[in-house]
Symmetry: C2
Subunit: 305 residues, 2 copies
């Protein structure tokens, strides 16, 4: 099935205890579409960059079969730039630079060929942009998933609540779930958030796995304990991309399949953190993905007599 | 099979955002033996209290069929006392009072009737006391499990390493695993710790579940997302008691059964935190335990086609 992803394509400069990078390709929609590219071939991107964005980086996306017709290149403007430095344990980071540049006036344009997309991933941007995308689609997709962050909960809560009424799945991390619901217990937080609109809530807990709340059901997928986390950048977006990519591939939004999607998303995220930036996400094989998913099965499965 | 547990029996005074208690029964061995009492009837305690310890509290243990022949009552001395206050989110606490009293000179005495115990749980006490217990047993138990804490890693590392050579299973939390191994990655930490002696390592991550490392295998049991954590005191010990109690009941130390034991331990811990102190651990029914374990199955089980 066709997948449409709207979000940021950016320059990232990263520093971790293992090294640092110059400007490399980053952005939520980059990680989402790359992860989804292992599941669906009808993989359509809407984003904006400046004319400083090299065609070689667009080639990274196109090399994975991603449709970049909806990637607007603004003449005389600069690409969104983020620089960050991770602390020793990789669980926290400092933002060194945020230059919004073209993202400050992102006005998503949906190419006609994208209309009718069945799966929609609204990557982390302002809720008003996310709402505009929904308004610009001629038909409502079968499934709409939205990611957001603490910033929007703090400065654009009304806009966020408005768009949440129209989405099927919300994916946020545990801190954001607590901020949005004003509840510490994730079980209570989930109940409040599901009452805001989404039928399904995915709470990402990073190295502690992810929870899936669906009506009165709850499912947990662990994160794989890794030898080394090299660079956590993009792990959450990669997770989301694997999740919705798997749903678009299988075109099954039952709870059992959402559970499988959560495991596939976790598997994709576990690859992402093994190298800097998108490096690991550009050359995976189907066999590697299947082996990784098999590791998740071994990690999580038990049998009570 | 028979289980022998050595550890502290204490007075606790607890304060959480939900209320506070006077001196109630606490201590690692209390939680361990209470949790194990739902699995094995041959449940033997070695501990020490002062003559200020009321017989009604000993009755709490005996009411669950725990053999208190090895509970030494020291005349003219006072029971170990700990007072703590939990912070708003329950994830951290301040110790308000620690009075070691009789625990400062704990010299575990093994009644003759306890000799031949097949399962041994060395609750958190100094490594030299844990080693003394092993030396005082006429025959080595089939399985020896040890719990410890950051204090002993910091002030008695050589003693701890000596006793670790003689145990089958070590259970510690994630911070302690990192402190003991000097590795942040839990996968690397596990490898280093397994090289110190234990064949199996259980890393407790509190609300984030528990990892079981066994030779080259790894298994993860989630914690149940709870509506409310009322009082986390004793959850780790209750987990350990459910774990080893289940092993003693089933007398099967295969990896598959260790996995089940981890789930039973997690289930018992999820009850413990629902009320203050040991309150919830004194009146569980078999049906409640089975239902809770079934919730863990629903939480964790998925099927990849």
């Amino acid at each position: 099935m066709s997948l449409l992803t709207v979000g940021s394509v950016a320059f990232d400069a990263l520093e971790t205890p293992f090294g640092k990078t110059d400007r490399i390709i980053g952005g939520a929609a980059t990680y989402i579409t790359l992860a989804a590219s292992y599941f669906t071939e009808d993989n359509n991107l809407v984003a904006v960059v400046g004319d400083d964005f090299p065609s070689s980086m667009i080639g990274v996306l196109e090399g994975r079969g991603i449709n970049t017709e909806g990637l607007e290149i603004r003449k005389g403007e600069k690409t969104f730039f983020w620089a960050g430095k991770y602390h020793e344990n990789m669980n926290s980071r400092d933002t060194l630079v945020t230059e919004l540049n073209v993202m400050g006036s992102f006005d998503p344009k949906i190419p006609g060929s994208y209309q009718g997309a069945q799966y929609l991933m609204l990557g982390n941007t302002s809720p008003s942009i996310q709402k505009a995308v929904l308004d610009r689609l001629n038909t409502r997709p079968k499934l709409v998933m939205l990611d957001t962050m603490n910033l929007w909960i703090e400065i654009a809560l009304d806009d966020l609540k408005a768009v949440l009424k129209e989405v099927d799945i919300l994916t946020i991390n545990d801190e954001e779930a607590r901020l949005l619901s004003k509840e510490y217990s994730l079980r209570k937080a989930a109940r409040k958030i599901l009452a805001m609109g989404p039928k399904t809530l995915v709470i990402k807990k990073g190295e502690h796995g992810a929870l899936l709340f669906y009506e009165d059901e709850v499912f947990f997928a662990p994160a794989l304990p890794l030898e080394e986390v090299f660079d956590p950048t993009g792990a959450g977006d990669t997770f989301a991309g694997g999740f919705i990519g798997y749903l678009a591939q299988t075109d099954d939004i039952s709870f059992d399949n959402l559970k499988r999607a959560l495991v596939y998303g976790s598997a994709m995220a576990s690859f992402c953190v093994e190298k800097f930036g998108v490096e690991r996400m550009t050359n995976l094989s189907r066999e590697e993905i299947n082996e990784r998913v098999a590791e998740f099965v071994k990690l999580a499965i038990f049998k009570i007599d």
